[in-house]
Amino acid sequence: MADPFQRLGRFTLGALQKLGRALFFMAHVWLGTVDLVLRPRLVISQMFFLGVMSVLIVAVSGLFVGMVLGLQGYNVLSDFGAEQTLGVMVAASLVRELGPVVTALLFSGRAGSALTAEIGLMKTTEQLAGMEMMAVDPLRRVVAPRFFAGVASMPLLAALFSMVGVMGGYFVGVGLLGVDEGAFWSQMTAKIDFYDDVVNGVIKSAVFGVIVTWIAVYEGYDAVPTAEGVSRATTRSVVYSAFAVLGSDFVLTALMFGDH
């Protein structure tokens, strides 16, 4: 029997090796950028599958999250007679945190899992090996367009989520609970700072986009080429994405807002 230290060591080594392989993989994918500039159609068609097809789930989720924020925010703020600032609270929560984070989690479930399964199945059915033998690099032809499409889609989806969320908060706060409409909007525009809030939110969603899509394409490419292997890779893709997004969100938040 291996003692716990041996097992811990083996686990750590395995994890580091996987990280190393994933880094080389990413470097190789970035080399494929040049081809994509010449063939933007490859990225655009993937943006349709990954981004446009995620619009509905992101918009509907954003609407409900915004409505819940409106209700909960009103309950707390009205105790202090500060319901005028509901707009600030809703917008700040969405733009700084919920927009990027929830969108990344939804994106990983909706598009990341599909990416992992697609690439894993292409590996299982020898389509990737077939491309290699046709002197076509699958990392450039298959993985790179999907990766960059995912990275480009995430900030746009997060922006959509925040926008629809603010609308949801407005419907509930102003429409149902009677917050003054002028105060709702003017407080929001006065207190939300373009650089502190909006730009930082966009940076977050861009980082999450890289993380989620990277994990998704790498898990697919690294999947054991069997039905079980692809199923495990798909699960791992979503689970690791959730951990990585929430963990890196803490780090990014500490860096961006820690000194306030």
Binding site: Q127, E132, M133, V136
Partner: protein, 277 residues
């Protein structure tokens, strides 16, 4: 034997090939020669690494020892760009066909042309239709790979493999799981394409009868080593017990019917008394 042939007649030359799959030794010092313009067969029982051999020739795997020279270039010393240039001149037919499932039959055959050439669309169309016509599937151009039978998928894959007019084609188990008609079609295609396009073909298979009808020369591999080689007639007439068992498909012989096990009688009695686990 083949080692005495003049070098310019040999397209692929394998020397002292050693390859491990994990702990298991797949090839243990194998020498093979594939001559230009010929159909050479590699035969052997399942799990002897026949597919691995094709991946080694195509440079997808790296041998642990030995050299593989294709068209006087050492495959595993080439840089990525040179390897890709070499692969453009090799076609490989995967057992599954490996067609791209999101593209139609036409687009699958057009794929290598679109990736590697800047030909205008009408030229690509003519080329694709010619290749599809050669395998008899010009009428199936608009189908999706999921709508094809296994034999048709392999024929489309063959049309794709010859799209760039390669110098050689590697066939991975082309006959496995085919009905007699598809089998006949594939046998005819491999033979005719080899002759008419001036190709060199390497066929990996364990379908003895079909393979020996098209091969000019055959190697038998078992246990990581070449256990027999020669022309089909020489192999059919061989008096080696192993080759006879393989060619005739006898259930018992030098390759025993039973997987190694303890004595039958002792095993059964052991089970009756509750032991034997």
């Amino acid at each position: 034997m083949t080692a005495n042939l003049p070098d310019d007649d040999v397209l692929v030359s394998i020397r002292d090939l050693v390859f491990y799959h994990g702990e298991r030794k797949i090839f243990d010092g194998v020498d093979l020669d594939f001559r230009k313009g010929r159909v050479t067969a590699i035969m052997g029982p399942s799990g002897t690494g026949k597919t691995t051999l094709l991946k080694l020739i195509g440079g997808q795997l790296r041998p642990h020892r030995g050299t593989i020279v294709v068209d006087s270039r050492d495959v595993h010393r080439l840089g990525t760009t040179e390897l890709y240039e070499l692969r453009k001149r090799m076609g490989m037919l995967f057992q599954s066909g490996a067609l791209l499932t999101d593209l139609s039959v036409f687009e699958n055959v057009a794929f290598p042309l679109r990736e590697h050439t800047r030909l205008p669309e009408p030229v690509i169309r003519s080329l694709v239709l010619m290749k599809l016509h050669a395998v008899g599937l010009r009428g199936a151009r608009d189908l999706k790979p999921s709508q094809l039978s296994g034999g048709m998928a392999r024929r489309v894959a063959l049309a794709r493999a010859i799209a760039l007019d390669p110098m050689m084609i590697l066939y991975d188990e082309p006959f496995t799981g085919q009905d007699p008609i598809s089998m006949g079609v594939l046998v005819k295609l491999i033979r005719d394409l080899n002759r008419e396009l001036g190709l060199t073909s390497i066929v990996v298979s364990h379908d003895v009868k079909e393979t020996l009808t098209i091969a000019d020369y055959a190697y038998l591999i078992s246990g990581g080593q070449v256990v027999g080689e020669g022309t089909p007639s020489a192999i059919a007439a061989s008096d080696s017990p192993w080759i006879r068992q393989f060619v005739h498909g006898d259930a018992d012989g030098p390759v025993p019917f039973h997987y190694p096990a303890p004595d039958y009688r002792a095993d059964l009695l052991g089970a009756a008394t509750g032991r034997g686990h």
